[in-house]
Symmetry: C3
C-alpha cells in the first residue's frame, strides 16, 4: 500500500508469503519490462504467476523471465495445458527436466482438455508433491461439460489428500467454463456445495471477469484466493478486496464479508 495513504479503515490483508487472500496472475506472454511495470505498481499483491497454457514453450526470453519472477519473490508456474500436451505426447520426463532446468518450484497438474483416469492424476500429484508445490486443477475447459457437484467435491478432496497445496477450479482465461456458465455467470449452487465440503482456503477460484471477482469477494470476503487475474486487473481486484470500488464499498468491511448468508 502506498505509504502516503493509510487513513481508511480497511479489511486486514495477510502479508506475503500468505496462505489465503492469494492473487494468482495469468501471464500469456509478457515481456521482461512489462513484468517490471506490473511489479512496480502492484508487486505486493501478486502471489503466483501462471505462464498460461503452453505459452512458455514459445515465449522468447523465458529463462530471464523466470529468474525475474523469482527475484521479485513470486512463484512462476507453467500452465496445466503444457503438462497435458506433454502427457499426450509421452514427454513427461522431458517436461520435468525442463521445469527443473528453469528452477521452477511450483507445478500445475490438470485434465481440462485430455482424458485422464482420476487415479492416475492422483498418482502424478503425489509424485510431484515430493519435489514441488503442486497446484491441481479440477474442471473441464469445454463449456458444455457439466459435472455434478458431488464429483467436484470428491475430486477436490482426493487431490488435496494426494498432496496438492491448493486446488484450482477451472474457468479458462475467458471465465466461461468450469464453475461458470458459458456467459460467465457463476454457478452459485455448485460453489456453495464445494465451499460447504472443502476449506475455502485450500481452493483457488479462477475468476478472470470482474463480476466474478465481485461475487467471490462478497461471498467469501477479502481474502478469498482468486486466479487467472489479468496483469492490468491486479490493482482493480485489490480495490475490490478492500472495499475501494463501488461494487464492494458497502459490502466489504474490516469485519469480513457482509452478505455471506446471501449465497
Amino acid at each position: 500500500m502506498s505509504p502516503a495513504a493509510d487513513f481508511l479503515n480497511l479489511p486486514e490483508r495477510p502479508a506475503k508469503p500468505r496462505q489465503s487472500g492469494l492473487t494468482h496472475v495469468i501471464d500469456k506472454g509478457l515481456s521482461l519490462r512489462q513484468v517490471e511495470d506490473m511489479f512496480s505498481t502492484s508487486g505486493e499483491f501478486i502471489d503466483i504467476v501462471k505462464l498460461g497454457w503452453g505459452t512458455a514453450y514459445v515465449t522468447g526470453g523465458l529463462e530471464e523471465k523466470v529468474r525475474l519472477y523469482e527475484s521479485l519473490g513470486v512463484a512462476a508456474v507453467l500452465g496445466g495445458t503444457f503438462w497435458e500436451a506433454c502427457l499426450v505426447q509421452g514427454k513427461l520426463a522431458e517436461w520435468k527436466g525442463f521445469i527443473s532446468g528453469l528452477g521452477l518450484r511450483y507445478v500445475e497438474v490438470s485434465d481440462g482438455t485430455v482424458e485422464l483416469p482420476h487415479a492416475q492424476k492422483l498418482e502424478y500429484i503425489a509424485e510431484y508433491a515430493e519435489d514441488f508445490t503442486v497446484l491441481s486443477e479440477v474442471g473441464s475447459k469445454d463449456a458444455d461439460v457439466v459435472m455434478a457437484p458431488y464429483r467436484w467435491v470428491e475430486m477436490i478432496g482426493a487431490e488435496l489428500e494426494a498432496g496438492a497445496w491448493k486446488v484450482i477450479t477451472e474457468a479458462r482465461e475467458s471465465g466461461t467454463a468450469g464453475v461458470f456458465r458459458g456467459d460467465g455467470e457463476v454457478r452459485t449452487g455448485l460453489i456453495d456445495e464445494i465451499a460447504h465440503a472443502v476449506d475455502v482456503n485450500r481452493l483457488l477460484f479462477e475468476a478472470p471477469q470482474k463480476s466474478q471477482q465481485v461475487w467471490f469477494v462478497r461471498t467469501f470476503g477479502s481474502n478469498v484466493n482468486l486466479g487467472n487475474i489479468p496483469p492490468e486487473e491486479v490493482i482493480p481486484l485489490e480495490t475490490l478486496r478492500l472495499g475501494l470500488r463501488g461494487d464492494t464499498l458497502l459490502s466489504v468491511t474490516s469485519d469480513g464479508p457482509a452478505d455471506r448468508e446471501g449465497i
Copy 2:
C-alpha cells in the same frame, strides 16, 4: 499531430489547455513507464487523467506518478469512489489533506454508490470549488437505477451552479450504467433531454466503449467531451473525432457533425 502528415482536411481541434473536445482518460494502475509510453504517442490528446475509483490508495509509486502527470501538463484527479469511501468513513478531512499533499488541483465529487442528500453534495462542491477545479458526477453505478431525465437536468444544473467546472455523466469503467443501458446502448432520449437543457461543453460524457464514442462524435461533433477512455483507446478516439476511422469517415467533416438532426 505528426508533422509528417498534414495534407488532409480535418475538423478543427482546439489546442491545450482546452474547454471543449476534452479527452479524459482512466488510469487504473499504470506504471510510470506506461504513462510515459501513453504520452509519447498521444500526449497532446489527453486533458485529464482519472486515477479510477480507489486505485490511487493502493497503487505503488503514486506520488511519482502524480508528479509525472503534472510535468506532462495534465491534471490528475482521484476517482469519485475514493471520495465516497472517505465520506462513508468520516475521513473527508484526511482525504483533503491527502490530495493537498499530492499537489492535486482537481477533485471529483460523486454519489454513484453512496446515498447523499443532493443539498449536501452541492455544499461539498461549493466548498471544494474554492480551492480546486471540481468535476462532479451525476448518475448511479447501479445499472438498475433509472433516473428520470428531468432529475438529471435539475441535478446537473444545480451542480454547475454550485461551482462544478464540468459535470460528468456516469457510465462506469464498463460503459453499462448511468446514461447507458446494461448492454452499453446509449439512452439517446435521455442524452437529448440533457443536451437540450445544458450547454454540451459543460458536460463530460463517460463513454468507454467505441460504439458509444462513435455515437457522441456523430451527434455532437469532433469536440464533444468524452471520459473514461482507456489509455490504449486515446489514439483510436482521436481518429473518430477527426473522421479517420470508418465509423465517422463520412459523417464527421471539417464543418462539424453531419447528422446532428439525427438524434
Copy 3:
C-alpha cells in the same frame, strides 16, 4: 521458439520471410517501447504490422516507429481506411508521397467504407503493384452489408489478377463484419465457397477474436494466414497454431489439421 524447449512434436512452421502461416498484427498506437516489448517475446511470429485505419496520421513518433519495424525485419503498412480518406478528399498523390517518404514497402487498398467502382479499385491495385507489395481488402465494414459468396470470389480473383500479393477478408478490429456475423460468428459457408475457389495461401483472414482463430486453425491448419491480431494475442495465436492450447491440443498435429472435412 525458446531454445530451452524443443522436445515436443509440433506442426512445422515456415521461417521468415514466409508466404503462408502469416501473422498480421494490428497496431493502433503502440509506443516505441511497446513495439520493442512485443518483439522481445514474439518477434519471430510477426510478419506484417498494420497501423490501423488512420491512426498513423495522428500517432506521435511515426517515422521512428516505421524505422523500428523495418529494423526488426517486419513490414509496416498503413490501414486501408487511411487510403480511403485520401481517396475521398482527392489526396492520393499526397498519400503516395507520404508513404514513400516514410519508406513503406507495403500498401493496403480497400473499399470497406467508401463506394468505389471495382474496375477503378483494380486500377489502383495495378498501379501500386508496380512500386509496392499490395494487400487489397474485400468486404464491407458495415455489419449489415451482406455480399453473395460468388461476388467475394469474383472480387478476390480479380484483385489477385490485378497484382495484389494477398487479399484480406474484412472483419474490422472487432471481428464483427465481413466474413463474420455481427456477434463474431464465422460465416462458414462463405469461407468454404471462397476457399474452394481461391488458393488459401493467397488469402489473409482478419480474425481478431480467439474463437475465430481457433476455427481457422482447425479448418485450414497451423499455417493459415491470419490478420488483425492484437499485439498481446500474438503468442496465444502461436500456441493455437502449434496445438499448445486446449482448443487445438487434440485437433492440430504435426500432420496438419485433423478436421478439415468438418467445414
